[in-house]
């Protein structure tokens, strides 16, 4: 088994992309917890999420990569940055880059190269997914359903969707109830009580 591993370390594009994205993940995750300004930590966390989406793309989990970008780098980061904007009174340090054009150019080159490599990771993940197991075979897979025969799915996204709605339908419905309760709880926690509005109008925020 070891010789197979050492053989595959050479000249494999997905392995080189894994090294790149792993390095990005470690550096930006360390930057999240060691930066003094919370806004810089949030931006570093966005890069961590995008690099994780790249690793999911290398491994062929395209649905998870898409959900990583949509849910984590989109929704949750918008929530965190919005709360930081509500709470933090510090000045934004990112506007300093306008005074240093070389630093701005280097940052832009890094960002564009990063997203180019993310794109190439998402495209090389598909032809390298050569495992012929459940959900990853290039041929169709049939889910047996009692009474109505079988349903045929093909590809990663369709397989994850079929597994969600056929094997895990009860946890899916419970997740929907949990999200409803969480949103209601967040609204109740974050709203001001009506009797306190007159007392705290001039002191809070």
């Amino acid at each position: 088994m070891d010789e197979i591993i050492y053989m595959n370390l050479e000249s494999s594009p997905s392995f080189l992309l894994f090294i790149f994205f792993g390095t990005i993940i470690v550096i930006t995750a360390l930057s999240v917890i060691f930066q003094k300004n919370p806004v810089v930590s949030a931006v570093s966390l966005v890069f961590t999420f995008f690099a994780l989406a790249g690793i999911y793309g290398i491994m062929g989990a395209l649905f998870i990569a898409t959900m990583q970008v949509l849910v984590y780098a989109g929704a949750i980061m918008v929530l965190i940055v919005f709360v930081l904007m509500l709470l933090s009174q510090r000045t934004e340090t990112l506007s300093r880059y306008r005074e240093y054009p070389i630093r701005l150019v280097l940052l832009s080159v890094f960002v564009f190269g990063f997203f180019f490599l993310l794109y190439s990771a998402l495209t090389t993940g598909v032809p390298h997914s050569d495992q012929m197991g459940k959900g990853y075979a290039l041929t169709e897979y049939s889910y047996p359903i009692q009474g109505t025969g079988t349903v045929n799915v093909k590809g990663n996204v369709a397989t994850v969707g079929a597994s969600t709605y056929l094997d895990y339908i009860l946890p899916f419905e419970m997740i929907s109830i949990l999200l409803l309760v969480a949103v209601l709880g967040a609204v109740i926690l974050a709203k001001k009580r009506l009797t306190e509005v007159e007392q705290t109008k001039d002191t809070v925020l």
Partner: protein, 106 residues
């Protein structure tokens, strides 16, 4: 179990997930800003997602990726409730430093 996922040994990916988990735990322990503690919890959840996807690929079974979808939904609910709590605490205490939250100390 397949030891190599698309040309990457799974021990490397699991090592990366362990490093990410350790960084998240370190952030929870050493930081005092409550929003950064939330970001560290997100790092921990992401390392767990990476382990789920890795074993889903190594075992060639799709259930791991389905569970990652559920973990993301749980993380979204946790972020919504947690950040609402942060806003409520900030409105009450005028601070996001967890050292100043001593209301429940005996």
């Amino acid at each position: 179990m397949n030891q190599i996922v698309n040309g990457i040994p799974i021990s490397y990916i699991l090592g990366l997930a362990g490093i990410l988990f350790s960084i998240g735990v370190l952030g929870v322990l050493i930081r005092r800003n409550i929003v950064i503690i939330f970001m560290s919890v997100e790092l921990i959840l992401n390392s767990v997602n990476l382990v789920f996807v890795t074993f889903s690929k190594a075992l060639s079974h799709i259930s791991g990726e389905t569970i990652v979808f559920f973990v993301m939904a749980i993380a979204a609910a946790e972020a919504a409730v947690g950040l609402a709590l942060v806003i409520a605490i900030f409105r009450h205490k005028k601070s996001t430093n967890v050292d100043e939250l001593q209301s429940m100390r005996w």
